[in-house]
Symmetry: C2
């Protein structure tokens, strides 16, 4: 089967783009990245809103198809069209567990610290310190909850579920990757830290590092 | 196959619990609801944190299994163990589209207006009016983006994708259901309004209405 031709609307820093970069690499798929400069407001341009009316990146474009948006939906899609290596376990309980961990991060953590929320809170009076406290609060809440889930439940192995990376690990590493950009650390998450280190040792994750992308600040 | 025995940790008002109620009903499955009084802080009790370390409801308990958490992960699980009627389309592009719409609501809209965010912002100085403006802003952003996606892309029919309800419709109706509780309306979303009306005409949705649940305010 010929490989589909993908374009990925992306930005160097964003956690959600990182997820898609990792999944494409794990699957051996390639995409041409098209830079959307969030810091310059390009995600709110009419041209990009025509691709994603929510103004959020990434968007994955497969020729002749409507844009694919929302990173976790894109990961599920890539896992369906390119099943190896699998990004979800083979059993329904395992899949539910992986999707739950992914949602703790991609739904209940990351959407709270994105640029549109920063813009709103800045206009509402948050200064830089207040915004940083907000970021730290939600990163800490989300990652410590994931830590407790991993430490308490059967299922975790070298990665969040078993011994190969799944959508849960991709979401986990995507959150810690953006925390590094902001120089934020969360204490008391040894299981999370060990899993993220194993992810970062894999080329698919290492090459998705925000600081290695075009547009990232130098040095 | 014998029906699994479910317990659903729930609260009358929450959007995420509504989603699971609807999916169970559409599948002909039953669960015993166990009330977690969020307004009294019961979701942050040690007993509930042992079930979900993030302190979020719902949690679906299947006897002998770890708790299932995160509403959309639960919907995917129910769709796998009870495939009829399907809550996702049969093709990968359709599934990606449905999951993307669901995430616009369950990831990029709803997590911004939950009690823990209200608590943080209240402590940061938001009064009741500022909180209401925040709620209205994110409901409006999310629903108007979904409206544009529905109006622009092929795929929508009587429901978000085709002519039967999917996970996208469940998430959509869950957001409008909680908006009704808060007496918030969003303008200029005719496609959304029509789809929600079709959902509400179905018993599975109508019976999940927050105002019809135990614990809801009377009259």
């Amino acid at each position: 089967m010929p490989q589909p031709t993908f374009k990925l609307y992306s930005y160097w820093r964003t956690s959600a783009t990182y997820r898609v970069r990792v999944a494409l690499a794990l699957k051996g798929l390639k995409a041409q990245e098209i830079n959307v400069d969030i810091d310059a407001g390009e995600h709110r341009s009419p041209a990009f809103l025509a691709i994603n009316p929510l103004g959020a990146i990434p968007a994955l474009i497969e020729e002749g198809q409507p844009p694919l948006t929302q990173s976790v939906a894109i990961l599920e899609y890539l896992d369906e069209i390119a099943p190896e290596p699998p990004l979800l376990p083979g059993d329904p309980h395992g899949r539910a567990r992986v999707r739950s961990i992914a949602a703790m991060l991609a739904s209940d953590t990351h959407p709270l610290i994105v640029p549109r929320v920063r813009r709103y809170l800045t206009e509402a009076g948050f200064d830089a310190d207040a915004w940083r406290a907000w970021q730290i609060n939600w990163f800490t809440t989300g990652l410590q909850a994931v830590e407790q889930k991993l430490a308490r439940e059967p299922g975790a192995g070298a990665f969040c579920h078993g011994d190969a990376p799944t959508i849960a690990d991709i979401c986990l590493a995507s959150v810690t990757a953006v925390m590094k950009v902001f120089k934020i650390t969360v204490p008391d998450i040894p299981t999370v830290d060990a899993i993220v280190a194993r992810c970062e040792a894999m080329p698919a994750f290492a090459n998705a590092d925000p600081m290695k992308q075009a547009g990232a600040p130098q040095g």
